[in-house]
């Protein structure tokens, strides 16, 4: 589904968190939001599905403003994974995934809801732990369960906030493979907040690089991921190589006040 943001401005009272943020994602595309901590990645995701309400600007779905949509319809459109979730009263993995059906449930869960959940649990390889409590799972399993919940929403757009942070290398690739498979296979679109520039570059069609709540650079990976941009935004010197058409970043040194004062690798 085509998603477009235009002129998004957000603040928690004093000082803007986001200024004039706008981009487009087409069907079957993955867009990654990258940038240092506090640059506004999470806030953008939350503005898209109305967890936060932007002060100014529009979010358009197929050209239609989402302001007019009900919360329930938004939940049927956007599959969301937060950066962290509290586990004070943990559900079982099964019930957690079933919770993804909530936007479709009026009073009672129906046959269709269960069938969707059975299918997704199998797809995500969660059968073995389906009836264990969510808080007993390992980090990778938890993340898979959350992805499963987001898929259970039968979304048209995925909004994933750092879906692979805290995961080991294998799980990182696994989750991103599943996501990109779903996006390309089912013609969804995805917006992900990412810390790992290399994986963002490998799995995304577009990258938006943020600096202090503003878009610093946006476009195809090879146009955004380069040494100049990264120096400006992250304050580090990097070497950038191209591997099968995708730029890959190797950090070299920190930049302070324009000078390299510390070599990471010499």
């Amino acid at each position: 589904m085509r998603l477009e943001l235009a002129g998004i401005q957000f603040s928690y009272g004093s000082g803007d968190i986001l200024r004039d943020v706008g981009f487009k994602v087409e069907d079957g595309e993955i867009l990654s939001l990258v940038g240092p901590n506090g640059s506004g990645k999470t806030t953008i995701l939350k503005c898209i599905n109305r967890i936060l309400k932007p002060k100014r600007g529009k979010v358009l779905l197929e050209g239609k403003n989402i302001d007019t949509m009900k919360l329930r319809d938004l939940a049927r459109t956007f599959g969301y994974i937060p950066q962290s979730s509290p586990v004070s009263f943990p559900l079982t993995v099964f019930d957690m995934v079933l919770l993804g059906r909530k936007p479709y449930i009026r009073w009672k869960t129906g046959k269709r809801d269960y069938e969707a959940v059975f299918k997704i649990i199998e797809l995500m390889g969660l059968d073995e732990m389906a009836f264990r409590a969510f808080d007993e799972l390992s980090g990778g399993e938890k993340q898979r369960a959350l992805v499963a919940r987001a898929f259970a929403q039968e979304p048209r757009v995925l909004l994933f906030d750092e879906p692979i942070s805290n995961l080991d290398l294998r799980y990182q690739l696994e989750i991103l493979d599943i996501v990109s498979g779903m996006v390309r296979g089912a013609g969804l679109s995805a917006v992900m907040a990412m810390h790992d520039l290399n994986l963002a570059s490998r799995f995304s069609d577009k990258i938006v690089m943020l600096k202090k709540g503003e878009i610093f650079a946006a476009g195809r990976c090879q146009d955004v991921i380069n040494a100049d941009n990264i120096r400006e935004v992250y304050g580090i010197e990097v070497a950038v190589y191209v591997d099968s058409g995708k730029p890959q970043v190797v950090p070299v040194a920190c930049v302070r006040e324009g000078k390299n004062i510390e070599k990471v690798c010499s």
């Binding site: 937060p82 004070s88 009263f89 559900l91 909530k102 059975f118 264990r132 409590a133 007993e136």
Partner: protein, 354 residues
């Protein structure tokens, strides 16, 4: 096919949970004649059944034993009915409040409800002033109105901070301490006799139960129940965090407000007739959660039935343990509930019983 196995396992698990609901209901029903047969004048269970049947099926001409009829219908059954509905109601509102606050230590009392009800009661006992009526009805209406008033204050304060669980708990504790202090200052002024009856009221008792009171509490309970059941999915969603809940289509502010208002109404209706019966609303949800897990679709009914059983057993023991005097119900529920609670904590495997 994998999914067949998964489907089967889920069906079996759900069947077990439903069976548990039915069994615990059966236990509750079975306890009624037992509770009705014991007391100051002990009645054989057969006589209890006969007295109950005689009124329900008058056409059977079982012959009315006047004294058994009076004991069962006028003295014991109203009190038993009150224990069931009050226990169920308190457990229900405790479960909802813990769920909405995402806090295992929250209860209607954390919202200041009981402290405010206590102040209302003390006002009626010591100064004889209050909302409406006189004597007993003044006390009841005072306790009820002040309980609602406290919640209103808590909500208004928390609303300034976007109704987050943290804001609600802090506002609740502030209100609780304010009303406790007010009650204490009233006790300071009152005579010994008045102070005694305030203390007695604060400890709770089901002794004054009448059918009329039972009817009122039952009415509020059954008006509230469907609302809370309707919100059980929202409660599950809110347990996963507000952001997730919103992303799943829950209007968290509204859901929180409606759930808390409903829970407050139930608690206020129970507390105003019976005094402060603590503990049940705190511990019954935990017991239920250890048994069926945190899915509110099952948690609400199990907690409710568990609370009813716990209060019925406690009240019955409170009546008969040290005859002819009675132990206040607030004390008894803790004596009965704590060992059971500790047993569950110690024996529970990681995860749930089912």
């Amino acid at each position: 096919m994998h999914s067949i196995r998964l489907e089967e396992r889920y069906a079996r698990l759900s069947a077990r949970k439903i069976l548990l609901v039915i069994c615990s209901l059966a236990v509750l029903v079975a306890l009624i004649p037992v509770a009705a047969s014991v007391g100051a004048a002990s009645l054989p269970i057969v006589d209890v059944f006969r007295a109950i049947a005689a009124r329900i099926f008058p056409f059977l001409n079982l012959g009315i034993n006047q004294s058994a009829d009076t004991i069962v219908w006028d003295l014991r059954l109203p009190r038993i009915a009150m224990a069931i509905i009050a226990g169920g109601g308190l457990a229900l509102s405790g479960t909802v409040i813990q769920g909405v606050m995402r806090n295992p230590l929250a209860s209607p009392f954390t919202l200041g409800i009981s402290a405010a009800a206590g102040f209302g009661a003390a006002l009626a006992i010591i100064f004889g002033v209050g909302v409406s009526g006189s004597g007993e009805s003044l006390l009841i209406s005072n306790a009820f109105i002040f309980a609602l008033l406290a919640t209103f204050v808590v909500f208004s304060l928390a609303k300034l901070r976007r109704m987050t669980p943290e804001a609600l708990i802090l506002a609740g504790i502030a209100v609780m301490y304010l009303f406790s202090a007010l009650t204490s200052s009233l006790q300071y002024i009152g005579t010994t006799e008045q102070v005694n009856s305030v203390v007695f009221w604060l400890l709770g008792s089901l002794a004054a139960s009448t059918w009329k009171n039972v009817l009122f509490v039952t009415f509020i309970f059954f008006v509230s129940l469907p609302v809370l059941i309707k919100y059980s999915w929202d409660l599950n969603a809110m347990a996963a965090g507000d952001e997730t809940a919103i992303a799943l289509g829950t209007n968290t502010k509204r859901a929180r407000l409606i759930c808390l208002m409903t829970a407050t109404l139930i608690t206020a209706s129970v507390v105003c007739f019976n005094g402060v019966i603590g503990f049940i609303c705190l511990v019954s949800p935990h017991i239920a959660r250890m048994i069926v897990g945190s899915d509110h679709r099952f948690l609400l009914p199990i907690s409710c039935i568990g609370g009813a059983i716990l209060l019925l057993i406690s009240d019955t023991l409170a009546r008969i343990a040290f005859q002819p005097s009675e132990i206040p119900i607030g004390i008894m529920t803790a004596f009965i509930g704590v060992p059971f609670f500790v047993y569950l904590i110690l024996t529970r495997r990681r995860g749930y019983f089912l």
